[in-house]
Symmetry: C2
Subunit: 145 residues, 2 copies
DNA sequence: CATTCTTTGCGAAAATCTCGCAAGGATTTG
DNA sequence: CAAATCCTTGCGAGATTTTCGCAAAGAATG
């Protein structure tokens, strides 16, 4: 994609907040015509600047009321495990986010479950493996964004 | 909101993946008419089951290529600081996520910046405060989801 | 089994998006 | 510096999508 100008940035900013804004609403806020806005947004999507559009569903409704952040440390002797782990995490519905990080830990996971029982079972199933050296669970009390 | 049935769950599932599916496309996938699907989706939005719709913008294109996870520990003598901190974080564009957690740390932040220089400046500005006892920065090498 | 409440599909009307076109700027080229 | 080229704009028509009223089909209630 070519360069993005200030109009594009403004559009991205707005759509990141609310992707359902209509061409008219965008036009009003950025100072272009509706058609121009929509054309630009279309282009942003085609070129991959906007990767996708998603609905944010309240976790409560889904019954997943408990969130835990896990700091995971693996044994250092098997670096190939990293990719396997990553792929395994990708498939687990409880894992809503997975970051491979530098430093004392290897992964930071964000886990979403119904209750402590479910979390407990998850830990048992996933973390009690020989190549996992240590894991630290941080229960989330509240979140922003 | 009343109870959600299997149609609602299916719709949520689909819209979480792609919120731009049209009524017709939804209809085809869930086996209801276009109007029925749209009515249900409308209701899911009104009742807050769908909290919002957002465009996912490629961080690279946005020039925010660096992601850092920060484990933050505050001094224990001022619990009221928590709320202030939280609100402060909410306003910072670098902070894309903020979780208040139990355990040794108080907050887990996800920070998105352009480069090390910007991160460095952010740390200087935000974390070098007397009520912040310790912070640990984990640079993100790669992520899922 | 009648009543009431809810949800459906249909179809018309409203809103929104897409696209071709001519015009206005910006950039390049000679 | 002007001509040529390229890019983006606003407009407006046409296509697509969403909203909404309505009658009917299902469920739930008593």
């Amino acid at each position: 994609m070519a360069e993005l100008d200030k109009f594009d940035y403004r559009l991205l900013e707005l759509l990141q907040e609310n992707s359902r804004l209509t061409g008219g609403a965008l036009a009003e806020k950025v100072g272009l015509s509706s058609a121009a806005c929509l054309r630009r947004v279309q282009r942003l999507r085609e070129t991959g600047v906007i990767e996708r559009d998603v609905a944010v569903v309240s976790p409560k409704v889904f019954g997943k009321r408990m969130m835990v952040i896990v700091l995971l440390t693996m044994e250092r002797d098997r670096p190939d495990r990293y990719i396997l782990m990553r792929d395994a995490f990708a498939k687990m519905p409880e894992v809503v986010q997975c970051h491979h990080v530098t430093g004392a830990h290897d992964f930071v996971l964000r886990i979403q479950v119904s209750d402590m029982e479910e979390y407990s079972a998850f830990v048992e199933r996933v973390f009690h493996e020989p190549y996992i050296k240590r894991y630290e669970s941080l229960a989330v009390l509240g979140s922003l964004k």
